[in-house]
Symmetry: C2
Subunit: 321 residues, 2 copies
Amino acid sequence: MANIKDIAEKAGVSVTTVSRVINNHPYVSEDKRNRVLKAMEALEYTRNIHAVHLSKGCSNMIGIVLPTVNLPYFAELIAGIADAAAESGIHLSLFQTNYDVQKEIFALSQLKQRQVDGLIFCSKAIADEKLMEWEGPILLCQNSDISRFPTISIPHQEAFRYGLDYLIAKGHKKIAICLARKKGMNSHFRIKAYKEALEEIGEVFREGWVMEKAITINDGKALFHKWKKWEEKPTAIFVANDQVSAGLLLEARAHKVKVPKELAILSVDNHEISQALGITTIDIQTKEMGKQAFAMLKKRIQGQSNERKVLDYRLIERSTV
Amino acid sequence: MANIKDIAEKAGVSVTTVSRVINNHPYVSEDKRNRVLKAMEALEYTRNIHAVHLSKGCSNMIGIVLPTVNLPYFAELIAGIADAAAESGIHLSLFQTNYDVQKEIFALSQLKQRQVDGLIFCSKAIADEKLMEWEGPILLCQNSDISRFPTISIPHQEAFRYGLDYLIAKGHKKIAICLARKKGMNSHFRIKAYKEALEEIGEVFREGWVMEKAITINDGKALFHKWKKWEEKPTAIFVANDQVSAGLLLEARAHKVKVPKELAILSVDNHEISQALGITTIDIQTKEMGKQAFAMLKKRIQGQSNERKVLDYRLIERSTV
DNA sequence: CTGAAAGCGCTTACAG
DNA sequence: CTGAAAGCGCTTACAG
């Protein structure tokens, strides 16, 4: 494999000049530029990117940390990040963690070793205090108490409250909620909103009506059967993700339970499946979040100070409430 | 940032020894090992991975080339690759191409520059002949005439034929098919199987009954309306992907068309949504394919010769045929 | 078990 | 516009 020195020799110039040509620097005479170009062609030169990285001290790559890509929410987030990254010519490295703290720490160690220039945490299991021990450009796709990191997020408390008020306005008082997992900032804020809303309408808070570990269509089906068995039934369930809502709705239909008459379903995401099934949901612009997350991390890598962005949401009325 | 030289000085040993300690080589005395370890701790040493890559000539990372991550088929494939890669401690780089040949070429150029040690093409737009101009470890998740590359694939012709025979056995003769895109090896073989099956039962081949550009749930909905408008209607549609089948089925139900009585639907994938909707489909082990693809590429990178694997498939009878 | 030294291949401040 | 030289930080064959 020819290297920059071979090219220099062949073209009769210095390696500096070759480097200038490769990087499109000005101040190279046409004559030398052409000779270099010709030599590169003749020797089938390909730049060794590792040497560039070592020399420049950066990798032109950022890491995406997420539990699994195999879930529409995260897939959409990645797609948004990928689009923006491609425009900037930045590479993407994937860290699938399955909410395993050790794997998140692995990703952080990769940042430290410069494998990547920055990290986007799409969702995390690691505690804020632990995360704070790490340095480098890290962006969180969720609200956080750590002001050291830029964040982009949905105002989950507000949005959830908005959804709850919508259900209440539609006459519901017995409302259950279903989250992906109780841990995590997003759920924290959602539960808070839930409690507040219940208090205002004089309903008691039932621990059992806060369900979790629901992510897939099958989880939604299971949710239906849980609901079916309850003595006292909520008239509405506010579900934090479209996949689960879809499973819930499909299973309800299969068992001739009328939606929304016997059971109302309000969802979050507005991904394709909710549209296909006519599920009333709250659009949270997942892809847009990915795009902006990338832009913010990029700025952070370039040394700008932390931003905190909050995205908008909106209710999409369809037929399940 | 402390480097290996700083550690060597502080510990009073050579850089060679430090390197040995870092890489867990044998033949280092306990005493020196401890001194090095202590020095590393004291100076908060982090290895610069770029130097390692430059020195070793590899990146410990492979690239995944696919049109979009935001589609269950590809997301599942990635998940499989990611699981296997994590076990081997290999990083994953994502190249989202949107079937843009230029972006595929970009990925290939990254392989050449050693940004990645190998490439998995989950699906491609670039022509075989063009691809052949590139060197390095490249694995294709599809059948190919190029014997220079290892491949892993489903026997699409056979599997499609199997599905068609199943439809025929169920009494269908007017069968349409719907593919993701007509270009590409997979479709090539499927259309071939389709023509053969039609010929055997004495049906004519209708160009218009081979539909394409169908990937999403919405595409499936559109497909229904196409079907609805046809004068002469097929009694069954064989759809190459679960998302499209789901859209087709949902829209059929919404318009009170009885499935399978008025319209039978046979699908391919066996992803969660087909299970949720009770769609009869052909399981093609997407995730397993990802796992094995990684293992094969890894072997190829290590210098072993090309393998060609063919995965099994099986029909999952549910309620749409 | 240990180390001096060559090698991986590029970038860039500096001097001209 | 141009080049010599230092620097990025590691690995590894070789000699001992």
